[in-house]
């Protein structure tokens, strides 16, 4: 298992490097000379030159990149061009809501998706199966903003059931819970389709396996067979595939946050890009990439924990 996780970690190094290179390039786009800004409007050219030297701006570009990397590793992502606050502060406030949203989405979408997929597999070829397939095809064909807009218009505006703008507070408070309901529902709805589909395929495969026939032959009830023998084995590929969908989840979260004015990293990133706030955009994209890598790593570990075969082969 350690081997397996280590090889995945090794793979994320070039990705992280790429993201950092990218963030560095983005900062080169800042129109003004940072030294001139720090020195102020009345500063002499000598003073500006000195500050440039202090910041390493007179060094070759790859040295500047190395300096940038060391700054990022120390947690310094620069200052927002627009609000003039530290990028790390803005991001620190936004990470919580994003994690909250993803958690609130997965906590209902994964069980519902797995349940739907299992129901479909058990009723293979019958009406329920077709219904689940239809739901999941419709789910993967609908843009997340469409679902968001519909829920917002009906559940939020016309029926006045739930709030649909912003975050009402932390997850454990009543207003926080109410405010996250629609965003989490929106994001989850695009996610149950793929999960149901994967579970169905995986469950069908396991249902034909020898050990399931044995379980039936020794007289176990259908419920036990499905829950203990089929589902448990079917979950292994499902976990991997959920991991592969992490990008999908991230993309959905960015759009969902924007629709519901949810104060997360995705909305921050989009706002920063549209406002040409390069330091903030750089930081937000870095955090999103890190989130993606982390999700993948967690999934890899889960996978290794679920499937004993991985431990042997690494």
């Amino acid at each position: 298992m350690l081997n397996h996780v280590a090889s995945r970690l090794a793979l994320s190094v070039p990705v992280l490097f790429g993201v950092l290179l990218f963030g560095f390039l983005l900062l080169q786009l800042v129109p003004a000379d940072p030294a001139a800004i720090i020195a102020g409007p009345t500063a002499s050219p000598e003073l500006i030159a000195e500050i440039r030297k202090d910041l390493g701006l007179d060094r070759p570009i790859f040295v500047q990149f190395a300096l940038y990397m060391s700054r990022v590793l120390q947690g310094d992502l620069g200052v927002s061009l627009i609000s003039n606050t530290r990028v790390t502060e803005d991001l620190g406030e936004a990470i919580g809501p994003t994690v909250e949203l993803m958690f609130a989405c997965l906590v209902w979408a994964i069980p519902v998706g797995i349940a739907l997929g299992t129901i479909a597999a058990v009723n293979r070829g019958r009406f329920l199966d077709r219904l689940v397939i239809a739901i999941s095809v419709a789910g993967v064909s609908t843009p997340v903003f469409f679902i968001g807009l519909i829920l917002m218009q009906y559940v939020g505006y016309q029926w006045e059931l739930l709030p649909f703008i912003g975050r009402g507070g932390p997850l454990w408070s009543l207003s926080g819970l109410a405010s996250i309901a629609l965003p989490a529902l929106t994001l989850g709805l695009i996610f149950i389709g793929p999960i149901a589909r994967m579970t169905r395929t995986a469950a069908l495969e396991v249902m034909n396996a020898d050990h399931v026939r044995t379980a039936r032959a020794k007289g176990l009830g259908e419920r036990t067979v499905i829950l203990k023998h089929v589902l448990r084995n079917a979950l292994i590929p499902v976990v991997t595939l959920i991991g592969l969908q992490a990008g999908y989840l991230l993309g959905g979260a960015v759009v969902t946050e924007t629709i519901y004015s949810w104060p997360g990293v995705g909305r921050l990133a989009v706002g920063a890009i549209l406002a040409s706030d390069f330091p903030l955009a750089q930081g937000a994209i870095l955090v999103l990439a890190l989130a993606f890598l982390t999700i993948n790593l967690i999934v890899d570990m889960l996978y290794a924990a679920l499937d004993p075969r991985v431990q042997k082969h690494g």
Partner: protein, 297 residues
Amino acid sequence: MADATLPAAPARRRRIASPMLRRILRDRLALAAAILLGLICIAAILAPWLAPFDPYNTTRRPFVPPRWSEGSLPQYWLGTDGQGRDMLSRLLYGTRLTLVMGLASVIVGGGIGALFGLLSAYYRRIDPYVMRFADILLSFPAILLGLALAAVVGPGLTAIVIALSIATIPDVARITRSAAIVVMGQDYMEAGRAVGLSDRTLIWRYLALNCLSSVFVFLTLRFGQIILIGAALSFLGLGVRPPEAELGMMASLGRDALFFAPHIAMLPSLMIVMIVLCANVLGDALRDLLDPRLRNT
């Protein structure tokens, strides 16, 4: 040179073509999807002739609802948007741009990916490097690529198409590679090499043609997803700039008027659903027919 003396490589496409057509015709759902998608494409191509109004022409009649609701105007079938522009005309032009965005990405990304896959299968020496590279690209979600490119290049169609193309490369490279490896084991490849065909001929005339159906099926399946990601990026404001019409961007313009003129956001969204649904249904059917191996991808 030696071509004439050799039996042509069995083109899998041709052998399957007619039964495939027959089976697609029998699959009513796939047939309906194909027809609907075809109609949408034709409408998009013919947009300049079909559109009753100039899609960019603003009027003093904003927020006119579609014909089936109260307060509509007879000349505006689908109503007007917040700037009094005809929705039907904008929808036609918007569909056009959305389809161009998707097709351009599929063709560029699919082409580069397929090339990588073919070379990787043919020259086994470069295989590990190409596959590691694909792994790295794969660990970069399309939406992030889109955000990042929009930040550097500035929002626009170019940024989106580049991002979507890059996101298509790794998966296509893998699919092509695995299909090409199977083809590499065939006798006619050996025979072609034995009579001294050049690498170039072997790759293009033998390997590529025989991998075509797998790549095609995969790209059909991918097309819908690409449109969805592209529309999402446009919706976020990172795509086409106004006044140009694109479905995702149109939906985001309609967001501000959602509660009193929902058709401005809903119509373009429904169009996206239709396109993607058709592409997915068609892709699934093609996959089941041509390449059941892809079922789990």
